[in-house]
Protein backbone atom coordinates (compact mmCIF):
# COMPACT_ATOMS: atom_id res chain seq x y z
CA UNK A 1 0.00 0.00 0.00
CA UNK A 2 1.36 3.44 -0.93
CA UNK A 3 1.72 6.15 1.67
CA UNK A 4 -0.74 8.90 0.58
CA UNK A 5 0.94 12.14 -0.48
CA UNK A 6 -1.48 14.42 1.39
CA UNK A 7 -0.49 13.03 4.82
CA UNK A 8 2.45 13.72 7.11
CA UNK A 9 4.20 10.93 8.98
CA UNK A 10 5.90 10.46 12.35
CA UNK A 11 8.94 8.27 13.06
CA UNK A 12 6.71 6.28 15.39
CA UNK A 13 4.53 5.32 12.37
CA UNK A 14 1.50 7.53 12.85
CA UNK A 15 0.04 9.63 10.02
CA UNK A 16 -1.50 13.07 10.38
CA UNK A 17 -3.89 14.83 8.02
CA UNK A 18 -4.50 18.53 8.61
CA UNK A 19 -7.72 20.22 7.48
CA UNK A 20 -8.03 23.80 8.71
CA UNK A 21 -6.84 23.62 12.30
CA UNK A 22 -7.91 20.00 12.83
CA UNK A 23 -5.47 17.10 12.67
CA UNK A 24 -6.71 13.57 12.02
CA UNK A 25 -4.39 10.84 13.35
CA UNK A 26 -4.06 7.16 12.48
CA UNK A 27 -1.36 4.53 12.04
CA UNK A 28 0.43 3.79 8.78
CA UNK A 29 0.20 0.73 6.59
CA UNK A 30 3.75 -0.14 7.66
CA UNK A 31 2.68 -0.07 11.32
CA UNK A 32 -0.31 -2.33 10.76
CA UNK A 33 1.74 -4.77 8.67
CA UNK A 34 4.36 -4.98 11.43
CA UNK A 35 1.72 -5.58 14.09
CA UNK A 36 -0.30 -8.04 11.93
CA UNK A 37 -3.94 -8.81 12.80
CA UNK A 38 -5.31 -6.34 15.35
CA UNK A 39 -7.46 -8.02 17.98
CA UNK A 40 -8.05 -5.23 20.48
CA UNK A 41 -8.13 -1.46 20.65
CA UNK A 42 -8.54 0.95 23.53
CA UNK A 43 -8.75 4.73 23.45
CA UNK A 44 -6.59 6.35 26.13
CA UNK A 45 -8.06 9.84 25.67
CA UNK A 46 -11.52 11.39 25.65
CA UNK A 47 -12.96 14.35 23.77
CA UNK A 48 -11.86 17.69 25.29
CA UNK A 49 -8.65 16.20 26.76
CA UNK A 50 -5.66 18.46 26.25
CA UNK A 51 -2.79 16.30 25.01
CA UNK A 52 0.87 16.98 24.42
CA UNK A 53 2.89 15.78 21.47
CA UNK A 54 4.08 12.23 22.23
CA UNK A 55 1.16 11.39 24.52
CA UNK A 56 -0.28 7.89 24.15
CA UNK A 57 -3.75 8.13 22.61
CA UNK A 58 -4.60 4.54 21.69
CA UNK A 59 -3.41 1.07 22.71
CA UNK A 60 -3.45 -1.57 19.99
CA UNK A 61 -3.08 -5.27 20.52
CA UNK A 62 -2.33 -7.76 17.78
CA UNK A 63 -1.65 -11.47 17.82
CA UNK A 64 2.05 -10.53 17.97
CA UNK A 65 2.35 -7.56 20.31
CA UNK A 66 0.74 -4.63 22.07
CA UNK A 67 1.68 -1.10 21.03
CA UNK A 68 0.76 2.43 21.99
CA UNK A 69 -0.17 4.97 19.34
CA UNK A 70 1.24 8.35 20.28
CA UNK A 71 0.03 11.71 19.10
CA UNK A 72 2.53 13.46 16.79
CA UNK A 73 0.92 16.82 17.69
CA UNK A 74 -0.33 18.77 20.73
CA UNK A 75 -3.84 20.07 21.13
CA UNK A 76 -7.37 19.34 22.26
CA UNK A 77 -9.08 16.07 21.38
CA UNK A 78 -12.23 16.82 19.40
CA UNK A 79 -13.31 13.38 18.15
CA UNK A 80 -12.64 9.65 18.49
CA UNK A 81 -13.45 7.12 15.79
CA UNK A 82 -15.89 5.09 17.88
CA UNK A 83 -16.67 2.72 15.04
CA UNK A 84 -13.14 1.27 15.44
CA UNK A 85 -14.03 -0.33 18.77
CA UNK A 86 -16.30 -2.75 16.93
CA UNK A 87 -14.42 -3.27 13.70
CA UNK A 88 -10.77 -2.81 14.37
CA UNK A 89 -9.97 -5.06 11.42
CA UNK A 90 -10.26 -1.89 9.32
CA UNK A 91 -6.88 -0.90 10.85
CA UNK A 92 -5.44 -3.79 8.84
CA UNK A 93 -7.52 -3.27 5.71
CA UNK A 94 -7.86 0.52 5.44
CA UNK A 95 -5.29 2.17 7.75
CA UNK A 96 -5.26 5.51 5.94
CA UNK A 97 -9.03 5.80 5.53
CA UNK A 98 -11.75 4.19 7.61
CA UNK A 99 -9.30 3.49 10.44
CA UNK A 100 -8.55 7.08 11.45
CA UNK A 101 -8.37 7.15 15.24
CA UNK A 102 -8.42 10.57 16.85
CA UNK A 103 -9.03 14.17 15.72
CA UNK A 104 -7.15 16.91 17.51
CA UNK A 105 -7.50 20.68 17.34
CA UNK A 106 -3.90 21.85 16.90
CA UNK A 107 -2.47 24.11 19.58
CA UNK A 108 0.88 24.47 17.82
CA UNK A 109 0.59 24.04 14.03
CA UNK A 110 4.37 24.47 13.71
CA UNK A 111 4.76 20.93 15.12
CA UNK A 112 3.69 19.70 11.67
CA UNK A 113 7.02 20.93 10.29
CA UNK A 114 8.86 18.22 12.23
CA UNK A 115 6.96 15.41 10.46
CA UNK A 116 7.96 13.54 7.30
CA UNK A 117 6.50 13.74 3.81
CA UNK A 118 5.16 10.58 2.16
CA UNK A 119 8.39 10.10 0.19
CA UNK A 120 10.60 10.64 3.22
CA UNK A 121 8.50 8.21 5.23
CA UNK A 122 8.57 5.55 2.50
CA UNK A 123 12.37 5.77 2.45
CA UNK A 124 12.39 5.58 6.27
CA UNK A 125 10.33 2.35 6.16
CA UNK A 126 12.53 0.83 3.42
CA UNK A 127 15.57 1.52 5.58
CA UNK A 128 14.15 -0.46 8.44
CA UNK A 129 13.18 -3.37 6.20
CA UNK A 130 16.76 -3.96 5.09
Amino acid sequence: MKNPQDLKYAKTDEWVKVEGNTATIGVSDYAQSQLSDIVYLEFLVEPDDEIKKGASIVTLESVKAAADVSSPVSGRVVALNDSLSDEFESINTDPFGKAWMVKVELSDPSEMDGLMSADEYSAFCDDREH
Binding site: Q34, D37, V39, Y40, E61, V63, K64, A65, A66, A67, R128, E129
Partner: protein, 488 residues
Protein backbone atom coordinates in the same frame (compact mmCIF):
# COMPACT_ATOMS: atom_id res chain seq x y z
CA UNK B 1 -6.32 -37.31 17.59
CA UNK B 2 -8.32 -34.72 19.46
CA UNK B 3 -9.05 -35.66 23.06
CA UNK B 4 -12.70 -35.14 24.05
CA UNK B 5 -13.31 -33.11 27.20
CA UNK B 6 -14.23 -34.94 30.39
CA UNK B 7 -17.74 -33.52 29.98
CA UNK B 8 -18.06 -34.98 26.50
CA UNK B 9 -17.23 -38.50 27.69
CA UNK B 10 -19.75 -38.21 30.53
CA UNK B 11 -22.56 -40.77 30.49
CA UNK B 12 -25.62 -40.42 32.76
CA UNK B 13 -25.53 -42.76 35.74
CA UNK B 14 -21.88 -43.78 35.40
CA UNK B 15 -20.12 -43.60 38.74
CA UNK B 16 -16.43 -43.31 39.58
CA UNK B 17 -16.42 -43.26 43.35
CA UNK B 18 -18.92 -44.75 45.77
CA UNK B 19 -19.19 -43.04 49.09
CA UNK B 20 -19.56 -45.20 52.19
CA UNK B 21 -22.73 -44.95 54.22
CA UNK B 22 -22.55 -41.91 56.46
CA UNK B 23 -21.74 -42.80 60.05
CA UNK B 24 -22.45 -39.34 61.42
CA UNK B 25 -25.85 -37.65 61.83
CA UNK B 26 -27.04 -35.91 58.68
CA UNK B 27 -27.29 -32.15 58.64
CA UNK B 28 -29.78 -30.05 56.73
CA UNK B 29 -28.11 -27.34 54.61
CA UNK B 30 -29.72 -23.91 54.69
CA UNK B 31 -32.01 -23.72 51.64
CA UNK B 32 -30.11 -20.80 50.08
CA UNK B 33 -26.97 -22.93 49.87
CA UNK B 34 -28.66 -25.89 48.18
CA UNK B 35 -28.20 -26.49 44.45
CA UNK B 36 -30.63 -28.50 42.41
CA UNK B 37 -28.35 -28.90 39.38
CA UNK B 38 -24.65 -29.61 39.44
CA UNK B 39 -23.58 -30.67 35.97
CA UNK B 40 -20.45 -32.59 36.90
CA UNK B 41 -19.22 -35.27 34.47
CA UNK B 42 -20.43 -38.80 35.19
CA UNK B 43 -17.50 -41.09 34.46
CA UNK B 44 -15.93 -44.29 35.76
CA UNK B 45 -12.54 -44.29 37.45
CA UNK B 46 -10.94 -45.88 34.38
CA UNK B 47 -12.41 -43.15 32.12
CA UNK B 48 -10.82 -40.53 34.34
CA UNK B 49 -7.43 -42.25 34.45
CA UNK B 50 -7.29 -42.76 30.68
CA UNK B 51 -8.50 -39.24 29.93
CA UNK B 52 -5.89 -37.51 32.06
CA UNK B 53 -3.12 -39.92 31.09
CA UNK B 54 -3.79 -39.15 27.42
CA UNK B 55 -3.87 -35.42 28.15
CA UNK B 56 -0.56 -35.66 30.02
CA UNK B 57 1.02 -37.29 26.97
CA UNK B 58 0.02 -34.27 24.87
CA UNK B 59 1.92 -31.97 27.19
CA UNK B 60 5.33 -30.71 26.13
CA UNK B 61 7.74 -30.00 28.93
CA UNK B 62 11.44 -29.79 29.65
CA UNK B 63 11.20 -33.42 30.76
CA UNK B 64 10.11 -34.49 27.29
CA UNK B 65 12.22 -32.33 25.01
CA UNK B 66 14.33 -29.29 24.18
CA UNK B 67 12.63 -26.02 25.16
CA UNK B 68 14.68 -23.06 23.86
CA UNK B 69 12.19 -20.38 24.90
CA UNK B 70 14.26 -17.18 24.95
CA UNK B 71 14.50 -15.21 28.21
CA UNK B 72 12.66 -17.99 30.06
CA UNK B 73 15.73 -20.11 30.94
CA UNK B 74 13.92 -23.43 30.56
CA UNK B 75 16.70 -25.46 32.12
CA UNK B 76 16.31 -28.94 33.53
CA UNK B 77 14.82 -29.01 37.03
CA UNK B 78 16.96 -31.51 38.96
CA UNK B 79 14.96 -34.22 40.74
CA UNK B 80 16.89 -33.77 43.96
CA UNK B 81 15.09 -30.42 44.36
CA UNK B 82 11.85 -32.38 44.54
CA UNK B 83 13.27 -34.76 47.13
CA UNK B 84 14.29 -31.98 49.53
CA UNK B 85 11.10 -29.98 49.02
CA UNK B 86 9.13 -33.06 50.05
CA UNK B 87 11.07 -33.74 53.27
CA UNK B 88 8.32 -33.85 55.84
CA UNK B 89 10.03 -31.30 58.10
CA UNK B 90 9.56 -28.76 55.30
CA UNK B 91 6.45 -30.03 53.54
CA UNK B 92 4.30 -30.40 56.64
CA UNK B 93 4.96 -27.04 58.26
CA UNK B 94 2.25 -24.41 58.35
CA UNK B 95 2.92 -20.71 57.82
CA UNK B 96 1.12 -19.81 61.04
CA UNK B 97 3.28 -22.05 63.26
CA UNK B 98 5.15 -20.26 66.06
CA UNK B 99 8.67 -19.36 64.93
CA UNK B 100 10.36 -21.48 67.61
CA UNK B 101 8.85 -24.60 65.97
CA UNK B 102 10.12 -23.76 62.44
CA UNK B 103 13.72 -22.78 63.12
CA UNK B 104 14.98 -25.12 60.37
CA UNK B 105 12.78 -23.43 57.75
CA UNK B 106 13.87 -19.99 58.90
CA UNK B 107 17.55 -21.01 58.89
CA UNK B 108 17.17 -22.16 55.28
CA UNK B 109 15.45 -18.92 54.29
CA UNK B 110 18.08 -16.86 56.07
CA UNK B 111 20.91 -18.72 54.38
CA UNK B 112 19.32 -18.37 50.95
CA UNK B 113 18.97 -14.63 51.58
CA UNK B 114 22.68 -14.53 52.42
CA UNK B 115 23.68 -16.64 49.41
CA UNK B 116 21.63 -14.59 46.96
CA UNK B 117 23.19 -11.45 48.43
CA UNK B 118 26.67 -12.89 47.94
CA UNK B 119 25.94 -14.12 44.41
CA UNK B 120 24.54 -10.76 43.31
CA UNK B 121 26.59 -8.29 45.35
CA UNK B 122 23.61 -6.79 47.16
CA UNK B 123 23.30 -5.97 50.88
CA UNK B 124 19.94 -7.57 51.67
CA UNK B 125 17.30 -9.77 50.09
CA UNK B 126 13.54 -10.32 50.42
CA UNK B 127 12.22 -13.73 49.41
CA UNK B 128 8.62 -12.54 49.41
CA UNK B 129 7.67 -11.65 45.79
CA UNK B 130 5.61 -14.34 44.10
CA UNK B 131 7.42 -14.21 40.75
CA UNK B 132 9.50 -11.98 38.47
CA UNK B 133 6.90 -9.36 37.63
CA UNK B 134 5.97 -8.95 41.30
CA UNK B 135 9.68 -8.68 42.09
CA UNK B 136 9.89 -5.82 39.58
CA UNK B 137 6.84 -4.19 41.11
CA UNK B 138 8.45 -4.52 44.55
CA UNK B 139 11.64 -2.91 43.23
CA UNK B 140 9.80 -0.03 41.63
CA UNK B 141 7.81 0.59 44.82
CA UNK B 142 11.14 0.71 46.70
CA UNK B 143 12.43 3.30 44.21
CA UNK B 144 9.29 5.35 44.80
CA UNK B 145 9.59 5.04 48.59
CA UNK B 146 13.29 6.02 48.46
CA UNK B 147 12.65 9.28 46.58
CA UNK B 148 9.58 10.09 48.66
CA UNK B 149 11.51 9.52 51.89
CA UNK B 150 14.05 12.12 50.74
CA UNK B 151 11.24 14.56 49.92
CA UNK B 152 12.21 14.36 46.23
CA UNK B 153 8.67 14.12 44.87
CA UNK B 154 9.22 15.53 41.39
CA UNK B 155 10.82 12.29 40.16
CA UNK B 156 7.93 10.85 38.14
CA UNK B 157 9.70 9.32 35.14
CA UNK B 158 10.95 5.75 34.72
CA UNK B 159 13.29 5.17 31.79
CA UNK B 160 12.91 1.88 29.96
CA UNK B 161 15.04 0.77 26.98
CA UNK B 162 13.13 -0.37 23.89
CA UNK B 163 14.65 -3.85 24.29
CA UNK B 164 13.21 -4.30 27.81
CA UNK B 165 10.86 -7.02 29.02
CA UNK B 166 7.22 -6.01 28.60
CA UNK B 167 6.62 -6.29 32.31
CA UNK B 168 9.02 -3.36 33.01
CA UNK B 169 6.68 -0.65 31.71
CA UNK B 170 3.74 -2.43 33.34
CA UNK B 171 5.43 -2.45 36.79
CA UNK B 172 6.35 1.24 36.42
CA UNK B 173 2.89 2.20 35.29
CA UNK B 174 1.27 0.29 38.17
CA UNK B 175 3.49 2.24 40.57
CA UNK B 176 2.32 5.54 39.12
CA UNK B 177 5.42 6.43 37.08
CA UNK B 178 5.41 7.83 33.55
CA UNK B 179 7.31 5.52 31.24
CA UNK B 180 9.95 7.12 29.01
CA UNK B 181 11.64 5.02 26.35
CA UNK B 182 15.26 5.13 25.35
CA UNK B 183 16.68 3.69 22.16
CA UNK B 184 19.08 0.85 21.33
CA UNK B 185 22.10 1.62 19.12
CA UNK B 186 23.33 -0.36 16.11
CA UNK B 187 25.43 -2.67 18.32
CA UNK B 188 22.45 -3.67 20.47
CA UNK B 189 23.48 -1.52 23.47
CA UNK B 190 21.58 1.34 25.09
CA UNK B 191 22.12 4.49 23.06
CA UNK B 192 23.92 6.76 25.53
CA UNK B 193 22.86 10.00 23.83
CA UNK B 194 19.25 8.88 23.89
CA UNK B 195 19.67 8.05 27.59
CA UNK B 196 21.31 11.41 28.41
CA UNK B 197 18.48 13.21 26.61
CA UNK B 198 15.83 11.75 28.92
CA UNK B 199 17.78 11.92 32.23
CA UNK B 200 17.05 14.93 34.43
CA UNK B 201 15.82 15.83 37.90
CA UNK B 202 12.44 14.20 37.17
CA UNK B 203 14.06 10.80 36.56
CA UNK B 204 13.15 8.27 39.24
CA UNK B 205 15.18 5.50 37.70
CA UNK B 206 16.07 3.21 34.83
CA UNK B 207 14.93 -0.39 34.41
CA UNK B 208 17.74 -2.32 32.80
CA UNK B 209 18.04 -5.94 31.74
CA UNK B 210 21.61 -7.20 31.50
CA UNK B 211 22.30 -9.22 29.44
CA UNK B 212 19.52 -7.50 27.52
CA UNK B 213 16.75 -9.28 25.63
CA UNK B 214 18.94 -9.44 22.55
CA UNK B 215 21.16 -11.74 24.61
CA UNK B 216 23.92 -9.13 24.61
CA UNK B 217 25.98 -7.83 27.49
CA UNK B 218 25.35 -4.10 27.88
CA UNK B 219 28.82 -2.93 26.88
CA UNK B 220 28.33 0.60 28.19
CA UNK B 221 26.85 -0.55 31.48
CA UNK B 222 29.18 1.49 33.70
CA UNK B 223 28.41 4.67 31.77
CA UNK B 224 24.68 3.88 31.70
CA UNK B 225 24.61 3.53 35.49
CA UNK B 226 26.78 6.61 35.94
CA UNK B 227 24.46 8.75 33.78
CA UNK B 228 21.36 7.69 35.74
CA UNK B 229 23.05 8.11 39.11
CA UNK B 230 24.39 11.54 38.12
CA UNK B 231 20.82 12.60 37.38
CA UNK B 232 19.78 11.37 40.86
CA UNK B 233 17.91 8.28 39.65
CA UNK B 234 18.25 4.66 40.74
CA UNK B 235 19.02 1.70 38.48
CA UNK B 236 16.74 -1.33 38.60
CA UNK B 237 18.22 -4.54 37.22
CA UNK B 238 15.84 -7.06 35.71
CA UNK B 239 17.40 -10.34 36.84
CA UNK B 240 15.60 -12.50 34.28
CA UNK B 241 18.88 -13.10 32.46
CA UNK B 242 21.10 -13.59 35.51
CA UNK B 243 21.92 -17.13 34.35
CA UNK B 244 24.55 -15.68 32.02
CA UNK B 245 26.38 -13.85 34.82
CA UNK B 246 26.46 -16.34 37.72
CA UNK B 247 29.85 -16.40 39.37
CA UNK B 248 31.35 -14.10 36.72
CA UNK B 249 30.09 -10.63 37.55
CA UNK B 250 27.80 -9.27 40.25
CA UNK B 251 25.05 -6.75 39.43
CA UNK B 252 25.58 -5.03 42.80
CA UNK B 253 29.28 -4.49 42.00
CA UNK B 254 28.32 -2.91 38.67
CA UNK B 255 26.41 -0.24 40.61
CA UNK B 256 22.88 -1.54 40.10
CA UNK B 257 20.72 -0.51 43.08
CA UNK B 258 17.96 -3.16 43.02
CA UNK B 259 17.40 -6.41 41.19
CA UNK B 260 14.93 -9.26 41.23
CA UNK B 261 15.95 -12.89 40.83
CA UNK B 262 13.86 -15.49 39.07
CA UNK B 263 14.38 -18.62 41.15
CA UNK B 264 12.28 -20.39 38.49
CA UNK B 265 14.77 -19.48 35.77
CA UNK B 266 18.29 -19.13 37.13
CA UNK B 267 17.93 -21.47 40.10
CA UNK B 268 16.04 -24.30 38.39
CA UNK B 269 12.73 -24.26 40.22
CA UNK B 270 9.98 -25.47 37.87
CA UNK B 271 7.99 -23.08 35.70
CA UNK B 272 5.85 -22.96 32.64
CA UNK B 273 2.83 -24.72 34.13
CA UNK B 274 4.90 -26.43 36.82
CA UNK B 275 5.38 -23.32 38.98
CA UNK B 276 4.67 -21.27 40.98
CA UNK B 277 7.44 -18.77 40.29
CA UNK B 278 9.49 -16.98 42.88
CA UNK B 279 11.00 -13.50 42.52
CA UNK B 280 13.25 -12.48 45.44
CA UNK B 281 14.58 -8.92 45.36
CA UNK B 282 18.05 -7.73 46.34
CA UNK B 283 18.93 -4.15 47.26
CA UNK B 284 22.08 -2.10 47.81
CA UNK B 285 22.86 -0.75 51.30
CA UNK B 286 20.99 2.56 50.87
CA UNK B 287 17.70 0.71 50.20
CA UNK B 288 17.77 -1.99 52.89
CA UNK B 289 15.33 -0.08 55.13
CA UNK B 290 12.66 -0.09 52.40
CA UNK B 291 12.45 -3.85 51.83
CA UNK B 292 9.02 -5.46 52.16
CA UNK B 293 8.30 -6.92 55.56
CA UNK B 294 8.90 -9.33 57.10
CA UNK B 295 12.40 -10.56 56.26
CA UNK B 296 14.13 -13.37 58.12
CA UNK B 297 16.72 -12.20 60.63
CA UNK B 298 18.77 -13.50 63.52
CA UNK B 299 17.07 -12.48 66.76
CA UNK B 300 19.67 -14.03 69.06
CA UNK B 301 23.17 -14.85 67.84
CA UNK B 302 24.63 -18.34 68.23
CA UNK B 303 26.33 -19.03 71.52
CA UNK B 304 28.30 -22.10 72.53
CA UNK B 305 26.52 -25.16 71.17
CA UNK B 306 23.33 -23.24 70.49
CA UNK B 307 22.57 -22.19 66.92
CA UNK B 308 21.24 -18.68 66.27
CA UNK B 309 17.56 -18.05 66.96
CA UNK B 310 15.82 -16.91 63.77
CA UNK B 311 12.70 -14.81 63.48
CA UNK B 312 11.00 -12.19 61.35
CA UNK B 313 12.12 -8.58 61.37
CA UNK B 314 10.54 -5.48 59.88
CA UNK B 315 12.80 -3.04 58.00
CA UNK B 316 12.54 0.51 59.40
CA UNK B 317 10.86 2.16 56.37
CA UNK B 318 9.38 -0.98 54.84
CA UNK B 319 7.07 -0.61 51.83
CA UNK B 320 4.90 -3.23 53.59
CA UNK B 321 3.82 -6.69 52.60
CA UNK B 322 3.88 -7.79 48.98
CA UNK B 323 2.24 -11.13 49.57
CA UNK B 324 0.63 -13.20 52.30
CA UNK B 325 3.15 -15.06 54.45
CA UNK B 326 6.77 -15.42 53.32
CA UNK B 327 6.98 -16.08 49.60
CA UNK B 328 6.79 -19.44 47.85
CA UNK B 329 8.65 -21.49 50.41
CA UNK B 330 8.69 -24.70 48.33
CA UNK B 331 10.62 -22.81 45.64
CA UNK B 332 12.99 -21.39 48.24
CA UNK B 333 13.87 -24.98 49.27
CA UNK B 334 14.45 -26.02 45.66
CA UNK B 335 16.70 -23.02 44.91
CA UNK B 336 18.64 -23.61 48.13
CA UNK B 337 19.15 -27.23 47.08
CA UNK B 338 20.27 -26.23 43.60
CA UNK B 339 22.86 -23.76 44.89
CA UNK B 340 24.07 -26.32 47.47
CA UNK B 341 24.57 -28.94 44.75
CA UNK B 342 26.69 -26.63 42.58
CA UNK B 343 28.63 -24.70 45.21
CA UNK B 344 30.55 -21.50 44.54
CA UNK B 345 32.62 -22.76 41.61
CA UNK B 346 29.81 -24.75 40.07
CA UNK B 347 27.69 -21.62 39.73
CA UNK B 348 30.28 -20.12 37.42
CA UNK B 349 30.20 -23.26 35.28
CA UNK B 350 26.44 -22.80 34.83
CA UNK B 351 26.96 -19.36 33.29
CA UNK B 352 29.89 -20.54 31.16
CA UNK B 353 27.89 -23.50 29.86
CA UNK B 354 24.86 -21.35 29.07
CA UNK B 355 26.95 -18.83 27.13
CA UNK B 356 28.93 -21.51 25.30
CA UNK B 357 25.78 -23.39 24.27
CA UNK B 358 24.11 -20.24 22.93
CA UNK B 359 27.18 -19.25 20.93
CA UNK B 360 27.62 -22.77 19.54
CA UNK B 361 24.00 -22.88 18.42
CA UNK B 362 24.24 -19.39 16.91
CA UNK B 363 27.34 -20.45 14.97
CA UNK B 364 25.50 -23.51 13.63
CA UNK B 365 22.58 -21.51 12.22
CA UNK B 366 23.96 -18.07 11.38
CA UNK B 367 24.48 -18.85 7.70
CA UNK B 368 20.82 -19.75 7.35
CA UNK B 369 19.17 -17.15 9.57
CA UNK B 370 19.99 -13.47 9.86
CA UNK B 371 21.35 -12.87 13.36
CA UNK B 372 19.86 -9.57 14.51
CA UNK B 373 23.05 -8.26 16.15
CA UNK B 374 25.96 -10.41 14.97
CA UNK B 375 28.42 -10.41 17.84
CA UNK B 376 29.35 -12.87 20.58
CA UNK B 377 26.16 -13.40 22.55
CA UNK B 378 25.57 -14.29 26.18
CA UNK B 379 23.01 -16.96 27.11
CA UNK B 380 20.63 -16.35 24.18
CA UNK B 381 20.50 -14.81 20.71
CA UNK B 382 17.90 -13.39 18.37
CA UNK B 383 17.52 -14.33 14.70
CA UNK B 384 15.03 -13.14 12.09
CA UNK B 385 12.55 -15.75 10.88
CA UNK B 386 12.18 -14.45 7.35
CA UNK B 387 14.10 -14.52 4.08
CA UNK B 388 14.18 -12.20 1.04
CA UNK B 389 13.53 -15.18 -1.28
CA UNK B 390 10.61 -16.52 0.81
CA UNK B 391 8.38 -13.43 1.00
CA UNK B 392 5.32 -15.22 2.41
CA UNK B 393 7.06 -16.91 5.33
CA UNK B 394 7.09 -15.25 8.76
CA UNK B 395 8.64 -16.17 12.11
CA UNK B 396 5.37 -17.71 13.31
CA UNK B 397 5.52 -20.25 10.46
CA UNK B 398 9.06 -21.25 11.47
CA UNK B 399 7.90 -21.77 15.04
CA UNK B 400 4.89 -23.85 14.01
CA UNK B 401 7.05 -26.00 11.75
CA UNK B 402 9.56 -26.60 14.58
CA UNK B 403 6.78 -28.41 16.44
CA UNK B 404 6.73 -30.98 13.63
CA UNK B 405 10.37 -31.66 14.45
CA UNK B 406 9.39 -32.24 18.09
CA UNK B 407 10.93 -29.07 19.46
CA UNK B 408 9.30 -26.38 21.52
CA UNK B 409 9.43 -23.14 19.49
CA UNK B 410 11.63 -20.27 20.65
CA UNK B 411 10.13 -16.99 21.86
CA UNK B 412 8.35 -15.27 18.96
CA UNK B 413 8.18 -11.59 18.08
CA UNK B 414 10.25 -10.44 21.00
CA UNK B 415 12.17 -8.21 21.47
CA UNK B 416 10.00 -5.86 19.43
CA UNK B 417 12.97 -4.04 17.90
CA UNK B 418 13.90 -7.08 15.77
CA UNK B 419 11.62 -7.84 12.80
CA UNK B 420 10.20 -11.39 12.83
CA UNK B 421 12.21 -12.15 15.96
CA UNK B 422 12.99 -15.67 17.11
CA UNK B 423 14.71 -15.54 20.49
CA UNK B 424 16.63 -18.71 21.28
CA UNK B 425 17.98 -19.69 24.71
CA UNK B 426 19.33 -23.24 24.90
CA UNK B 427 20.52 -23.12 28.58
CA UNK B 428 23.53 -25.01 29.94
CA UNK B 429 21.65 -28.25 30.59
CA UNK B 430 21.50 -29.34 26.94
CA UNK B 431 24.21 -31.49 25.38
CA UNK B 432 26.00 -30.95 22.08
CA UNK B 433 23.91 -33.55 20.22
CA UNK B 434 20.62 -31.88 21.18
CA UNK B 435 21.90 -28.50 20.04
CA UNK B 436 22.98 -30.03 16.73
CA UNK B 437 19.63 -31.75 16.19
CA UNK B 438 17.84 -28.47 16.83
CA UNK B 439 20.19 -26.60 14.48
CA UNK B 440 19.54 -29.26 11.81
CA UNK B 441 15.79 -28.72 12.17
CA UNK B 442 16.19 -24.95 11.89
CA UNK B 443 18.38 -25.33 8.79
CA UNK B 444 15.93 -27.76 7.14
CA UNK B 445 13.12 -25.30 7.83
CA UNK B 446 15.08 -22.43 6.27
CA UNK B 447 15.36 -24.61 3.17
CA UNK B 448 11.67 -25.53 3.23
CA UNK B 449 10.79 -21.84 3.56
CA UNK B 450 12.23 -21.23 0.09
CA UNK B 451 11.38 -24.51 -1.64
CA UNK B 452 8.06 -25.45 -0.07
CA UNK B 453 6.68 -22.44 1.82
CA UNK B 454 3.17 -23.93 2.01
CA UNK B 455 4.57 -26.68 4.24
CA UNK B 456 5.43 -23.98 6.78
CA UNK B 457 2.20 -22.04 6.27
CA UNK B 458 0.12 -25.14 7.09
CA UNK B 459 2.32 -26.35 9.97
CA UNK B 460 2.16 -27.99 12.42
CA UNK B 461 1.27 -31.27 10.69
CA UNK B 462 2.32 -33.83 13.32
CA UNK B 463 0.47 -32.41 16.33
CA UNK B 464 -2.98 -33.50 17.57
CA UNK B 465 -4.41 -30.16 16.43
CA UNK B 466 -3.14 -28.22 13.43
CA UNK B 467 -2.71 -24.46 12.97
CA UNK B 468 -4.99 -22.51 15.28
CA UNK B 469 -6.75 -19.34 14.22
CA UNK B 470 -5.01 -16.92 16.57
CA UNK B 471 -7.10 -13.91 15.54
CA UNK B 472 -10.34 -15.74 16.20
CA UNK B 473 -8.96 -17.06 19.48
CA UNK B 474 -8.10 -13.55 20.65
CA UNK B 475 -11.30 -11.89 19.42
CA UNK B 476 -14.18 -14.33 19.84
CA UNK B 477 -13.99 -15.10 23.51
CA UNK B 478 -16.43 -17.79 24.59
CA UNK B 479 -16.82 -18.34 28.30
CA UNK B 480 -17.34 -22.08 28.59
CA UNK B 481 -17.20 -22.65 32.32
CA UNK B 482 -20.37 -23.51 34.17
CA UNK B 483 -22.10 -20.54 35.72
CA UNK B 484 -24.52 -21.37 38.53
CA UNK B 485 -28.10 -20.48 37.77
CA UNK B 486 -29.79 -18.44 40.40
CA UNK B 487 -32.63 -20.45 41.85
CA UNK B 488 -35.60 -18.92 43.60
Amino acid sequence: MVEATIFEISSPGRIGVKYPESDVPSFELPAELERRHLPLPEVAELDVVRHFTRLSKLNYSIDSGFYPLGSCTMKYNPRINEVTARLSGFAKTHPLQPVDTVQGNLALMYELQEWLAEISGFSAITLQPAAGAQGEYTGVLIIRAYHKDRGDTKRTKMIIPDSAHGTNPASSSMSGFDVVHCATNEHGNIDLDSLRAVCDDTTAGLMLTNPNTLGLFEQGISEVIEIVHQAGGLVYGDGANLNALLGITRPGDLGIDIMHFNLHKTFSTPHGGGGPGSGPVGVASHLVDFLPCPVVGILEPASGDFPPFYGFVEPAKSIGRMKAFYGHFGMVIRAYTYISMYGKHGLREIAEGAVLNANYLMALVNKHYKVAYPRICMHEFVVEGHWPNAPEVIALDVSKRLMDYNFHPPTNYFPLIVPEALMIEPTETENKETLELFADALIKISDEAVNNPQLLKDAPHNTPIGRLDEVKAAKDLVLCCWIPEKEN
